[in-house]
């Protein structure tokens, strides 16, 4: 009983700690949910305190004392009292039901209008693919990235989500509740980040909030994380334009050798849009994907993250690893050392990708690839 009140106190004391907390909303939707939660919490706490107080009073008052000769009255019940305490909770719950139903329809109404930013989300084991269908280059390519979502502050973002394999759940607690990402179905989630989110820093830099997959999706479920970068509309626009640029094919040095390896090995699953020295732009790896999956364009666009601007990301491996030379080197030597995966079960034709295999790359090949990927900012 004491512990109960202690833990309520602890919740209030520790509320809002952490970059992935639902108790520190960074946008109006999460704020509404948090307000509703606090209303329920207060109501529940009042009920808890009253019920436990009566309970404890009863236990103290009617405890058996030494040489206690009391003969308790044999009360079998009290219909009026019992009806009262059947109706009272019902009334209380009816009070709770009103904002609940309102809230449901609020959070489930997709945003509409020309100012809404559309993003397609595909859950993969174990990474997130993001496509911005309305942000296109002159030659018709859409903006593709992975694990790190960039959104402008104050703009309503509509996520249209599905899964490439098993059920995932998209959850960025400071921006909204979670929404399952189900194969064969499309689900929607609205994100809105407030202006304050631009400067809020929870240890991962200003404007960065964290999320992760919330539906158990197999071996590396815990490492299927994501980051959301809240930016000013200008910064977002600049980022988007930069991401649409093709990556340059290096012509000399380690990076050029790395590109050779990339073209031979990595493109089995990854894609990159590159510009050749002669100026032609092509997406390498795309053919392999179409060959394996058929010509019908699926919702998602590749087996592994698009690497065109890999160097510009702060993390990789489902946002579970900082994008630094050490990690990248270890990863290319044996990916499963850094993140639990099961590439032995990969079956491209079936679309079953359970992680990046160890390709047995030589140390110099790895160094060259690292050079290339870091250059592709």
């Amino acid at each position: 009983m004491l512990t109960a009140s202690l833990f309520i106190a602890a919740i209030s004391a520790c509320s809002g700690s952490g970059p992935q907390s639902s108790l520190e909303p960074e946008g109006p939707i999460a704020q509404d949910i948090d307000d509703l939660w606090e209303f329920v919490l207060i109501l529940a706490t009042i009920v808890l305190v009253i019920v436990l107080a009566v309970f404890v009073i009863s236990l103290i008052r009617f405890r058996e004392r030494k040489d206690d000769q009391r003969r308790p009255r044999q009360v079998h019940g009290n219909t009026r009292l019992e009806i009262a305490w059947t109706i009272l909770p019902a009334v209380l719950l009816a009070v709770l039901a009103v904002p609940t139903v309102q809230g449901i329809f609020d959070i489930r109404t997709p945003p509409e209008g020309p100012d809404v930013l559309q993003i397609k989300v595909t859950g993969h084991q174990w990474w997130w693919e993001f496509e911005y269908p309305d942000i296109t280059s002159d030659d018709g390519r859409t903006l593709l990235t992975a694990n790190e979502l960039h959104i402008p502050a104050g703009t309503r973002v509509n996520l249209t989500m599905t899964s490439a394999d098993v059920i995932h759940s998209f959850w960025v607690p400071p921006l909204n509740g979670k929404r399952d990402v189900v194969p064969g179905r499309v689900s929607f989630l609205t994100l809105v980040a407030s202006e304050e989110a631009l400067v809020a820093d929870n240890g991962f830099g200003p404007g960065v909030v964290l999320g992760q997959c919330a539906e158990f999706c197999g071996l590396a479920h815990a490492d299927m994380r994501l980051r959301v970068f809240v930016e000013t509309p200008e910064d977002f626009e600049a980022w988007a334009q930069q991401q649409l640029e093709p990556a340059a094919v290096p012509t000399e040095g380690a990076a050029a050798a790395g590109f050779e390896t990339f073209n031979q090995v990595c493109t089995a699953c990854h894609q990159a849009t590159v510009s050749q020295p002669d100026g032609t732009v092509e997406t390498i790896g795309l053919e392999n994907f179409i060959e394996a999956r058929g010509a019908d364009s699926p919702f998602w666009s590749s087996f592994g993250p698009n690497l065109t601007h890999f160097g510009s990301r702060t993390t990789f491996g489902g946002a579970s690893l900082d994008n630094v030379t050490d990690h990248l080197t270890q990863w290319l030597a044996n990916p499963s050392d850094l993140k639990p995966m099961a590439p032995e079960y990969n079956d491209l034709a079936e679309g079953r990708i359970l992680g990046m295999p160890n390709f047995g790359l030589a140390p110099d090949e790895i160094a060259n690839l690292v050079e290339l990927l870091q250059r592709w900012e």
Binding site: S21, S22, L59, R73, A97, V166, P173, G218
Partner: protein, 630 residues
């Protein structure tokens, strides 16, 4: 006579030795088998929990690999639900349901044995997966298409087949308990004179009968998807992954009440005894239990508030979930009303029952916060949910069953558990429990998802995870004390006598442990809490007056026709004979199960297993019901 001798060889009536336990059809022995088995599985499931807590004690834990962790949390859930709490409830029901309603056994004693052996063999089968290449690792809910994704290993086949076999065992015992309640009650034991525990056992039996078929179908579909290329849950082929969730939770939510209602029944027995007052509002408690069971079928989709059912369904299931809080609240208030005005003795069974109420209030209220759908979209699949259901199933159910052990241990063994060590156990368990699970509310709200083998630094989760781990080990220590207490008290506890607690119900009228036939003379029941009214009367103010003529527990009531001396009556009682056919039939089913798991070469085992089961069923139906005695 020669025939008789052969029969005796086959089915010895012995009361000792392994063979006597293998062939027993005595509901009390089967109850004890259920209890001991469940307790053993409890330590295994607890060990899994401790490993999980060790791994999560700090950020980036390295104690377990992701693969090991996923197996352990899957098996922890599966074990605690199917191999611990359900069978411990079955243990109490088996042992006490017949006695509480004044019967000499359950309606179908051999079917009862069959249920137990099938449960035990299935449990062993599921655990054998650890040695042959890995245990189930897709969470106890086994969401497809994850559960159907990797068909190269048989891990999830163990889960699908194992759960279905356990379901068969549960359906059989449920049918048995329903028949027992409806047909075996002693004269005068009307439905509304039955102890609340018997009522709850009845409600649970109905819940299982109606809820297991949907999940059985789902499990078979899943098995077909995995092994025969069926496409029930394969989205790419037009199947629907959400179908599985509906079928699973249509079972899974009533299952929650299957786990908690017997514990509610137990504390509804204990509270009046230790308050020296009748249960406040017996009818309200009984009917609220039935109402919980009924409404429990209409709330399954509150486990799916984030799956995208659409706002109308979400609102409907949210409100239905709130409605279920009403009968639950009624129970709480009636329990508190029972203590009000009583003379409360704080002995161990009472302490655990009181903790049940307090912890269940917390778990119930956090459950109401789940019904607030927008808030649930943050709580769902986070540690907040883990906290909630442990407050209900550990703070509730486990505390209730431990209370039951302290309360009825004297009846099982004739000896009392050590009261002092019991109190140490109680406080350690209560403190450890709250240290473990209260912080999980905060972790969940701070964004920590469940079923994750690791979490990174800088998320603000380290401190509370460490506290939770400390709490978990405190719980572990408390249960070692409990185990020690049980082992010690079995032989050295204070002799209990028939009625150590000044009880109210029929089990306290008979010796401890009870004779094989329970009652020398079939009891005749005149009221609710019949035994109590034989000991106490009420004065004109409704106050308790001890009846001088009767000393508790030694009373023998002779029934209407029970003339003559009780010894003769005893001689005439025919108890069902031991039989090994139930164990044999269930063994055949489990062999069949193994065959299905290793289908590529296991068809032979399927054939052999089915033959054995058929052999068992034939023997079962053809053996004489009662062994010839003369």
């Amino acid at each position: 006579m020669a025939v008789t001798a052969e029969r005796v060889d086959l089915r010895p009536p012995g009361e000792r030795g392994v063979w006597s336990w293998l062939t027993t059809v005595d509901h009390k022995r089967i109850g004890l088998l259920y209890g001991v088995t469940a307790f053993a599985f409890f330590f295994i499931g607890g060990l899994e929990a401790l490993l999980i807590r060790l791994q999560l004690a700090q950020a980036n834990g390295e104690v377990l690999s992701a693969d090991a962790y996923n197996q352990l949390f899957t098996m922890h859930g599966l074990t605690m639900v199917f191999l611990v709490i359900m069978p411990i409830a079955a243990a109490f029901t088996n042992y006490f349901l017949p006695i509480l309603i004044g019967a000499r056994d359950v309606a179908f004693p051999r079917l009862n044995a069959f249920s137990y052996w099938l449960f035990l063999f299935s449990g062993i089968m599921i655990y054998s997966s650890f040695v042959v290449g890995g245990s189930p690792d897709g969470a106890w809910v086994g969401y497809s298409p994850l559960a159907t994704q990797i068909t190269e290993t048989v891990r999830m086949d163990y889960w699908a087949i194992g759960l279905n076999l356990l379901g068969v065992a549960s359906i059989a015992s449920s049918a048995n308990f329903i028949a027992t309640v409806f047909t075996m009650r002693a004269p005068g034991m009307t439905m509304l004179r039955m102890p609340v525990f018997a009522w709850m056992a009845l409600v649970v039996a109905f819940l299982l009968i109606f809820s297991l078929p949907p999940v059985a179908i789902g499990l078979f579909q899943l098995f077909l998807d995995r092994n025969f290329g069926a496409l029930f849950y394969q989205a790419a082929a037009g199947g629907d992954p959400l179908l599985w969730q509906h079928l699973f939770w249509l079972f899974g939510h009533p299952e929650v009440y299957v786990l908690i209602l017997p514990a509610m029944g137990i504390i509804s027995e204990i509270l009046p005894v230790f308050s020296r007052k009748p249960l406040f509002g017996y009818e309200f408690v009984v009917f609220s239990g039935a109402a919980i069971g009924f409404v429990g079928f209409g709330v399954w989709a509150h486990h799916m508030f984030t799956s995208g059912m659409g706002p109308v369904a979400e609102a409907g299931f949210g409100i239905a979930t709130m409605i279920i809080a009403v009968p639950t609240g009624v129970k709480i208030f009636n329990w508190i009303g029972t203590t009000w005005g009583g003379r409360i003795r704080f002995q161990t069974p009472m302490l655990f029952s009181l903790a049940f109420i307090a912890m269940f209030v917390i778990g119930g209220l956090s459950g109401v916060t789940h019904a607030v759908v927008p808030a649930d979209t943050q709580q769902h699949d986070s540690y907040y949910v883990v906290a909630h259901f442990h407050y209900v199933l550990f703070g509730g159910a486990v505390f209730g069953y431990v209370a039951g052990v302290y309360y009825w241990f004297p009846k099982w063994t004739g000896r009392m558990l050590h009261e002092g060590w019991g109190k140490v156990h109680f406080w350690l368990m209560l403190i450890g429990f709250n240290l473990t699970f209260a912080p999980m509310h905060i972790l969940g709200l701070n964004g920590m998802p469940r079923r994750t083998y690791q979490y990174g630094e800088g998320l603000g989760w380290d401190f509370w995870n460490l506290i939770a781990t400390v709490g978990a080990f405190t719980i572990g220590v408390s249960f070692l004390l409990f185990l020690g207490n049980i082992l010690w008290a079995r032989t050295r506890g204070i002799p209990a006598g028939n009625d150590p607690w000044d009880g109210r119900t029929l089990e306290w009228t008979i010796s401890s442990p009870p004779p094989v036939h329970n009652f020398d003379v079939e009891p005749v029941v005149h009221s609710l809490d019949d035994f109590w009214h034989r000991k106490y009367a009420e004065d004109e103010e409704g106050r308790l007056v001890k009846m001088p003529a009767v000393t508790g527990g030694t009373l023998v009531e002779t029934g209407g026709e029970g003339e003559g001396d009780t010894h003769d009556a005893h001689e005439d009682i025919h108890m069902p004979s031991p039989s090994y056919y139930p164990a044999l039939s269930s063994l055949g089913l489990v062999i069949t199960g193994y065959g299905l798991i290793y289908l590529s070469w296991g068809w032979a085992a399927v054939v052999v297993g089915m033959m054995i089961t058929l052999w068992g069923l034939f023997g079962w139906s053809l053996e004489p019901i009662t062994r010839e005695e003369h």
